[in-house]
Symmetry: C2
Subunit: 273 residues, 2 copies
C-alpha cells in the first residue's frame, strides 16, 4: 500500500490549522501530499475569492467543503432574511470554489424557544434550495454535539438532521457527519444507515477525556475515546466515498507549527481512520 493510497481520501479542514492563511494551508497541503481542503469563509474573505479559486486550482486541490453557512434562527424577520442573504453569498462562493458541499451549522435559538428555532432552520433551508440548485451547490446540515445547542446549533442529532433532509427531498440538501458531534449517539449506526444517499461530508475529530474546553478542547485522532473505524465503515457502507476531513478545534494544536500538525494528522489518519 503506497503512502498516497493511505491518504488519498484525507482532507485538511482549515479549522485544524487556525493560524494559517488560505495560501499557507494550500501550500502546506501540497508539501504534505494532502489532496483536499475544507475552506473557512473568514480565510476565504481574507484571501479574496478570485485569488482563492486560483490558489486551489493551481495546487490541484479538491475543495471538500466550504465552512460554513447556517446560523438561521433570529428574533426578527429582517434578521432572519439577512441570514438567508448571507447564505446565498456562501452558496455563490461554494460554487466558485467547486466545493463538494456547503456545511450548514444551523445556529442557536435567539431566546428560549428551541423548537421554534428548529422551524426557522427548516424554513430557511427550504428557501435556499432553489438558489443552491441553480448554482449546483449541495448544502450539508451538520448536527452539532448537544452541548452546543444553546450557542451554535439547535440541530443536535443525525436523526433530527435526516428528518429535515427527508422532508425536503432535494438532492441539494444532505448531512455532514462529524465523529466529534455524533460519537455518543446510541442510535448512530442505524441513523448512518438511514443516511444512505444523503451523506455529503465526513469529518473526523477525537473526544478527549477529560475535555479541557467546550470549543477548543477537541482531540487529535487517536488521543481520545472515539473508535473511528466502525463509524467510517458504516459511512462507507452507506455509500459515501468522498474526502474525509480532519477538523480539530484545539488551542494546543493551533499553537504547533502547521507542518507538524499535518504530519501528525497524516500519521494518525492512517493508523486510526
Amino acid at each position: 500500500m503506497t503512502q498516497f493510497a493511505d491518504i488519498s481520501r484525507l482532507s485538511l479542514n482549515q479549522a485544524t490549522t487556525q493560524r494559517w492563511s488560505l495560501r499557507e494551508a494550500v501550500e502546506g497541503c501540497a508539501r504534505a501530499g494532502i489532496p483536499a481542503i475544507g475552506i473557512w469563509r473568514d480565510k476565504l474573505e481574507a484571501a479574496g475569492l478570485d485569488a482563492a479559486v486560483r490558489l486551489v486550482r493551481d495546487a490541484g486541490l479538491r475543495v471538500s467543503s466550504l465552512c460554513r453557512g447556517g446560523m438561521f434562527p433570529a428574533a426578527t424577520a429582517a434578521e432572519r432574511q439577512a441570514r438567508i442573504d448571507d447564505n446565498r453569498r456562501a452558496i455563490e462562493h461554494a460554487a466558485a470554489l467547486g466545493a463538494d458541499v456547503l456545511v450548514l451549522v444551523c445556529g442557536p435559538a435567539p431566546g428560549k424557544e428551541i423548537q421554534a428555532a428548529r422551524a426557522m432552520v427548516a424554513d430557511a433551508v427550504e428557501q435556499l434550495i432553489p438558489f443552491a440548485a441553480e448554482r449546483g451547490v449541495r448544502m450539508g446540515i451538520e448536527p452539532l454535539h448537544p452541548m452546543y445547542a444553546g450557542d451554535r446549533s439547535v440541530i443536535t442529532t443525525l436523526a433530527e438532521a435526516l428528518d429535515e433532509v427527508e422532508r425536503f427531498g432535494s438532492p441539494h440538501v444532505g448531512v455532514v457527519i462529524d465523529t466529534y458531534h455524533v460519537w455518543w449517539d446510541p442510535y448512530l449506526f442505524a441513523q448512518i444507515g438511514r443516511a444512505a444517499g444523503h451523506i455529503l461530508g465526513f469529518h473526523v475529530c477525537d473526544w478527549l477525556v477529560p475535555t479541557p474546553h467546550m470549543l477548543l478542547g477537541r482531540g487529535m485522532i487517536g488521543d481520545g475515546v472515539i473508535e473511528f473505524r466502525p463509524i467510517r465503515a458504516a459511512v462507507e457502507a452507506a455509500g459515501y466515498r468522498g474526502p474525509i476531513e480532519v477538523e480539530i478545534f484545539n488551542q494546543a494544536i493551533w499553537d504547533m507549527p502547521g507542518d507538524v500538525v499535518l504530519a501528525l494528522m497524516r500519521e494518525r489518519f492512517v493508523e486510526y481512520v
Copy 2:
C-alpha cells in the same frame, strides 16, 4: 395560593449546597419550609446511616432520592462485580432512608467501546432488580447529557434509557429526568410521553449560555435558556406527581451561604417551574 402550596413539590438535592453536611441541609430545608431532600451518598457516609435516618425522620422530610448508584462498566469482571456490590449497599441505604428512588448514573466505558459499556450497564441493572425488589427500592436510570458520555454515563438520552426500562419490564426500574441533561433533545416531548408510568424522579437545573464549566457550570433556574414549564407539564401529563428536585452543580452557587441559595431556589422555582 399559599406559599406552602407553591413549593409543596420542591426538593433540595444536596448537590446544590455542596458545602453543607447532611445535618446542615436538613436544618436548612426546615428553615426554608422545603418539604423534601435528595441525599448524596458521600454526605450520608459522613453523617452515618442511622443518624441520617433519624435526622430526616425527625425533621419530617421526604427523601426524594438517594444519589447515586451506577458506574457499572469496568474493564474486568471482578471490578464489574465490585460495582454491583456497591450498588447493593446503595439499595440498602435507599431502603433505610425510605427514598423514593435510587438514582443511577450509569458510568463511562472503561475504554473506547461505548456499545459494549452499554451492555454492561444493562447486565448490571438486570442483576440488581431482584435485590431492589426484595427491599422495595426503585432504581431510576438518569440519562446524562451527551457531553458526559466519555466520563460519566454512556446512557445519554431518555429514549435510550426507556429502551432499557421497557426491556426490563420491572416496576423497580424507571427513569429520572433532569432538564439540564435532556432539554436539547429534539424528541424530548415524545419520549416523556413514552415514559408514562416509568418516571421516578424529575430534576430541574438551567443551561447557561455560555456554559462556564462542563461540570460546575450548571445554572440556577431562570439564569439560562431552558423553558421549564412545558417540560414540567409533559412530565405531569405522563403521570409524575412526586417531588421536583433542584440539583445544580455550580461553583458560584456553592460559594454562596446555603440559606441564600435556598431562598433563591424557592423564588425561582415558583417563578419558572
